[in-house]
């Protein structure tokens, strides 16, 4: 798993690239926690270079999404590849998490 951050139009874009396995999920949660604690509550997760994710990793997105929803911020997921999108749909999370085809669309 590789994480990087960019800022555009007042939104923090977190690129989550590569494979998110069970052991990575704790680090992913900590990364988002630190951003939120630093006051960055308008977040887009760029998943376009993610090639694998387990349910524990999806659970991180659920936790962050709910936390930001309660405080007036947001988390949007952008550009998941078909295999990742399939996992999101099988778990029903396409009915919870805001999904966008690209970062550009998530920023609109």
């Amino acid at each position: 798993m590789e994480l990087s951050v960019d800022r555009q139009f007042g939104v923090t874009i977190v690129t989550v690239a590569g494979s998110v396995d069970s052991a990575d999920s704790g680090a992913l949660l900590s990364f988002f926690d630190e951003l939120i604690e630093a006051g960055q509550t308008r977040l887009v997760a760029d998943l376009s270079r993610m090639d694998f994710i387990v349910s524990m990793g999806l659970g991180v997105f659920v936790q962050i999404y709910i936390r930001l929803r309660k405080t007036g911020g947001f988390l949007r997921l952008a550009g998941p590849q078909p295999l990742i999108l399939q996992i999101i749909k099988i778990t029903g999370l396409d009915r919870l998490l805001p999904l966008y085809d690209s970062v550009a669309q998530a920023l609109e």
Binding site: D21, S22, A23, F52, V54, M56, G59, V62, T91
Partner: protein
């Protein structure tokens, strides 16, 4: 490596990073058997989910407890058995994570993914041992892999 039937067993510590040892060992052999990429993805996902359940929910990350993985590989099928040293559980009482009541739960999606991506998933009576089967039928494989 020849395309012969392979039986092996591995034992790992109750640490989430230990799942990578199993995957590295197993996938070297699956690639040698020319398993297609969609099947490798499905097997990796189901294996990760089963191992993390065993380590986290079965053994509660107890360093004194181990997880055993047994696998049988044929050119057309893989069988995986994951055994933890916990108290077990009843998979029938695990709620459907796609329902409105549970959609916002942070956990509870692993068994659903295992069932979606493998052809068979079954537990022993105690609930501390899960057996999974994936059949390799490239032209007729399930939608999920």
């Amino acid at each position: 490596m020849s395309k012969a039937k392979i039986f092996q067993s591995l034992t790992i510590a109750s640490e989430l990073t230990a799942t990578r040892q199993v995957e590295q060992h197993l996938f070297t052999q699956l690639r040698a058997q020319n398993y297609p990429d969609d099947c490798l993805f499905a097997i990796r996902l189901a294996l990760e989910e089963a191992l993390s359940n065993a380590i986290k929910h079965g053994n509660h990350l107890d360093p004194a407890k181990m997880v055993t993985v047994r696998f049988s590989i044929n050119p057309d099928e893989i069988q995986l058995t994951i055994i933890d040293q916990g108290q077990g559980f009843d998979p029938l009482v695990v709620p459907d994570p796609t329902t409105k009541e549970h959609l916002e739960d942070p956990n509870g999606r692993g068994i659903m993914l295992m069932r979606a991506y493998m052809d068979e998933v079954s537990y022993n009576l105690k609930g501390n041992e899960v057996r999974m089967v994936k059949r390799i039928r490239p032209s007729r494989s399930k939608q999920a892999g």
